[in-house]
Symmetry: D2
Subunit: 358 residues, 4 copies
Amino acid sequence: MTWILGNRIKINIFGESHGPAIGGVVEGLASGIKIDMEELEAFLDRRAPGKTKLTSPRKEEDRPVFHSGLLDGYTIGTPIAFTIKNSDHRSSDYSDLAKSPRPSHADLTARLRFGDGVDMRGGGNFSGRLTAPICVIGGILIQLLRYKGISIGAHLYKVGPIIDANYNLLDLSYDDTEKLKNADFPTIDQEVGRRMQDYINEVRSNKDSIGAIIECGVVGLKAGYGNPMFEGIESSISKNLFSIPGVKGIEFGQGFGVADMLGSDHNDGMYYKDDGSIGYYSNNSAGIIGGISTGMPIVFRLAVKPTPSIGIKQKTIDLLTKKNVTIEIKGRHDPCIGIRMVPVVEAMTAISLADFVL
Amino acid sequence: MTWILGNRIKINIFGESHGPAIGGVVEGLASGIKIDMEELEAFLDRRAPGKTKLTSPRKEEDRPVFHSGLLDGYTIGTPIAFTIKNSDHRSSDYSDLAKSPRPSHADLTARLRFGDGVDMRGGGNFSGRLTAPICVIGGILIQLLRYKGISIGAHLYKVGPIIDANYNLLDLSYDDTEKLKNADFPTIDQEVGRRMQDYINEVRSNKDSIGAIIECGVVGLKAGYGNPMFEGIESSISKNLFSIPGVKGIEFGQGFGVADMLGSDHNDGMYYKDDGSIGYYSNNSAGIIGGISTGMPIVFRLAVKPTPSIGIKQKTIDLLTKKNVTIEIKGRHDPCIGIRMVPVVEAMTAISLADFVL
Amino acid sequence: MTWILGNRIKINIFGESHGPAIGGVVEGLASGIKIDMEELEAFLDRRAPGKTKLTSPRKEEDRPVFHSGLLDGYTIGTPIAFTIKNSDHRSSDYSDLAKSPRPSHADLTARLRFGDGVDMRGGGNFSGRLTAPICVIGGILIQLLRYKGISIGAHLYKVGPIIDANYNLLDLSYDDTEKLKNADFPTIDQEVGRRMQDYINEVRSNKDSIGAIIECGVVGLKAGYGNPMFEGIESSISKNLFSIPGVKGIEFGQGFGVADMLGSDHNDGMYYKDDGSIGYYSNNSAGIIGGISTGMPIVFRLAVKPTPSIGIKQKTIDLLTKKNVTIEIKGRHDPCIGIRMVPVVEAMTAISLADFVL
Amino acid sequence: MTWILGNRIKINIFGESHGPAIGGVVEGLASGIKIDMEELEAFLDRRAPGKTKLTSPRKEEDRPVFHSGLLDGYTIGTPIAFTIKNSDHRSSDYSDLAKSPRPSHADLTARLRFGDGVDMRGGGNFSGRLTAPICVIGGILIQLLRYKGISIGAHLYKVGPIIDANYNLLDLSYDDTEKLKNADFPTIDQEVGRRMQDYINEVRSNKDSIGAIIECGVVGLKAGYGNPMFEGIESSISKNLFSIPGVKGIEFGQGFGVADMLGSDHNDGMYYKDDGSIGYYSNNSAGIIGGISTGMPIVFRLAVKPTPSIGIKQKTIDLLTKKNVTIEIKGRHDPCIGIRMVPVVEAMTAISLADFVL
């Protein structure tokens, strides 16, 4: 369902795309911690639609209203609950979705799971809009993790044939991840970012969409967090990231490249540094061994499918007439959901790590 | 930790590699279900070491002793608990591990997490040996899922440069997955399997190890199982599979290939079949949309790192002398843990699906 | 914390007494179920303050605003989230609570648990006001349980020396519990109710408060619900009812009277009725044996402490000056919290049973 | 079910009375803690049958065999799993239970819950024998809590008309609770204990049984542990104690007496002691306010029903012939289960507190 139940931190996300509001609750934070609301809003703006021509131009008033758990900008130790009003529904855009499920949207599976009563207008509870409350909670946790010296930064690693710079497994630094927060477009190399935008523009002009790979790095997580087996760091991150609509794959470190690697290449040898701390000669494990952090940077990549909403005519069924029909999805949609998903990935990573660290 | 807490099915795995026993508990199964113990043992044999020259030849008496939850071979609705005795420890093989952590093993991270008191002989609670109780529980659940018409079959898709046949996303059949159960070597194409064995033999003769990609298919899962967000099918499968020591990546359907796909290529159009049921023109979603099953086959691939235990000299540290040293790991180890991991992947997949289906 | 995590139904309650709003989330309800909003508001009115002279006259606008999970008055299968705005704070009434914790309130323990940052104005997250969202969720679940033929009814069994009629363990009927919903005062015998009110009025005129015993009956729960050990029905009901501020005891059936009973008196013999169904000669088990329902009425009683807020001068400490001081609590408070707690007990009982039944 | 899932400590209990073994698993303990096995066995002996003439003389080899989580008598941070073999079944004693459920045993409700396949020989998973693994886990946790200065001691407060001394709410000391561990009979006043035994002997000679009230005290729990609402200390203790077969009521502090108390009597005023620490003038709250510990002793009482197994002829049904019949339960049974339940109450209390404290 829509709950994460950690041992310390518990989270719930609720709402439908075209219902009165969406929102969330997070519990388990210590009291007396300052939350920087301006920073939080800047973070939410990174996910908000309409920022560039490449993201859906619907005007959403994505400002959370906080109901509890905060006093004068400080946590008080009780559940933080908030809602974000829904508005600007062009419901007519979605009017015939009820009878004709959109290919590769959850329209049909949701109906099979929850019955005909399900509210799938705008994607309902499955909408990418539900990533807004995730960013509210994740944005708060990112601030709390930074107090512990932890920085999380994601970027668009690949869109179609265009590839951004790779995160360096061994030497990824706090500055590398932090500076992405102010980038106009979420690539390490801004020139590559411009080429990605050109490419996506072309896709959009064809009424089509394109998939992407997002890469995320975590710097500053000390060694010794995590658990063996079902509560390892990789298990936690992957579980939460697959909750983001459209994610179809995740790989840590060398990822699928390990099938071509010998143990003698992949193993990360250790040494004592001059100051007595432990260093690694390589970081193919990407900061996690046995589900537990090594102290080295965590790096993983996500496969994000092309936006299923496209303007091209598609084959589907009519649930009322029981006929095979075609559908042309109107309305305006992101040609590459990967762009707006970048801060969502950072938020979810923060959520995943918070239960171990806070 | 070592618990899976589904809404219906709860699982615990316990034990250390060189402690008295390993074992597990599973609760939430209905009563009155026949468990075929011979089939279960045949399944466990697929994971057992010593089967081929390519798997570690230690003789383990991997027979589970059941303590509760079963009567005359039938479930009775209460927790099924079992243990598997540990034996055949060549503790001398591991004698110096305490002071010199093995590269890319959990020796060091476990110590940082649990303190010096941790028992890491043979990998302790992090050992691949803990996949034996997973196979006991998964082997039981595979039988229960088959009563629902569901078949799960995994194979070695890639080892070094050798690639087995791919599972067909659209037309994967019950027979395709079932027939792997009797294969000598876990490939679809037995000729490819022989080449893989030759390749692995060569790696072994160099005292090295090699990574792998395992592909797993699920056939017969009806549409409508799963949940949005944090309890989607992909979230559940990925969380559990990353608990298997050595897994570094997972991708569903087209996986990381989606970054090169247009929405018009990736979307799975629908149609009514002559019998009124719903069909899909393609299955790039690999049987899951919005976290919920579509009724089409589920196909995913796992990246498995090379066995970290290799006979080649490696750089590490000596925790007692605080010096940089080298280590040569003695004992006999699988040159490709991917081989024995194939039934473990099937078991974990069954565990992941059982909470939705049973 | 403030979450109930059943196997099917998950609940969260949030908010502080003087924060912006309180509210809750409930997940796990089927879709397509009609919720009668008028009935729900009538139920909430039973808890609302200011109804009689004996309950606190603060005007609270205790109407929940629903944000999600409902469409046109029907459930849609997703989390139902709602908030209730806080208002009418006479904060000056509470102005010196911060430095002088009120005896037998959570003022001091909350501070020790959550630190000085905790917001204890009006009782904060510990306030009896948090029972309003419990009544919203419980009021919804009461409607859902009634579809299954289950009725829950509580009454004031004892206040000081005044005792209402006892629920009959063996013959409690659906009508017995349902008719309490329309009673002016929550007693079975309305004449007893008037005497209770006179007694409470007298206590109030002395600026004092009085404890109470509430009795609750459940009729129509079929046999076979519940679980052995930690998820038995008594475990679930007691855990949830002790969450209501002020509850200090619970007893089922003969309760503490069992210490004087012989097994031959207490055991509930069985017989076949003419229609082949199973009857019991007595119901000392109060509808639950081994944690599982027998099909007979469930009856339990709760001990509710006197309202800790009284107008009489009391001894306490001043946390700023570190001196022993006295406190006179101003503001208007219920002289017997037991009265308004009656529907809260029904709501919590519905919450406790819903996870087993729905 | 049979799992306790705290935020830190997770517990599972498994087994049937006449299955191969019973046992349990506990996870979440720190590593490097010495467990005194002799003390643990002495604790288990207090629950073991056959110690006095008044407890069932079946010889059970109630020694746990530990499989994991311990090394050389120290915890290692991983799950501690153990089993206790079942033996000495006089199955003939129970031979006709399958068809004639015993009044006020779970025989019938278990069958309705789990189906005819359930194994109810000797009470199955519902048997009082399952309190043995609870005592193993609780006995370990009692040792861990003592390292924190916490002592837990229970005694038989009332059996029929015989009443033992009451625990003093205000001045209960560490020695008061500890010295019960060496008592021959679990009363504070040994002379009262002798009279209780005489009374129980008389009940037994009549082939009957008698209920009891057990009182339990906790000394040394510092202020500030616990949570508001659903995870308060009272919620946790009550939930777990109602899991013990036969418990029908629990009350903290003044318990049901609060209905006769004025707020001015019940409220616990505070003062600064000379050393600057906070004292209470009274302890009617019994150490818990708002679900959180005050630092004062916790005292609660449990109502325990008479043993349902009695030698007197009782009315029941025959599930095979569908006739009303009588049953005479043979075999030897405790005439007062309250006696052996005393250490079980201590164990469960330790389990309840451990998740907050450890």
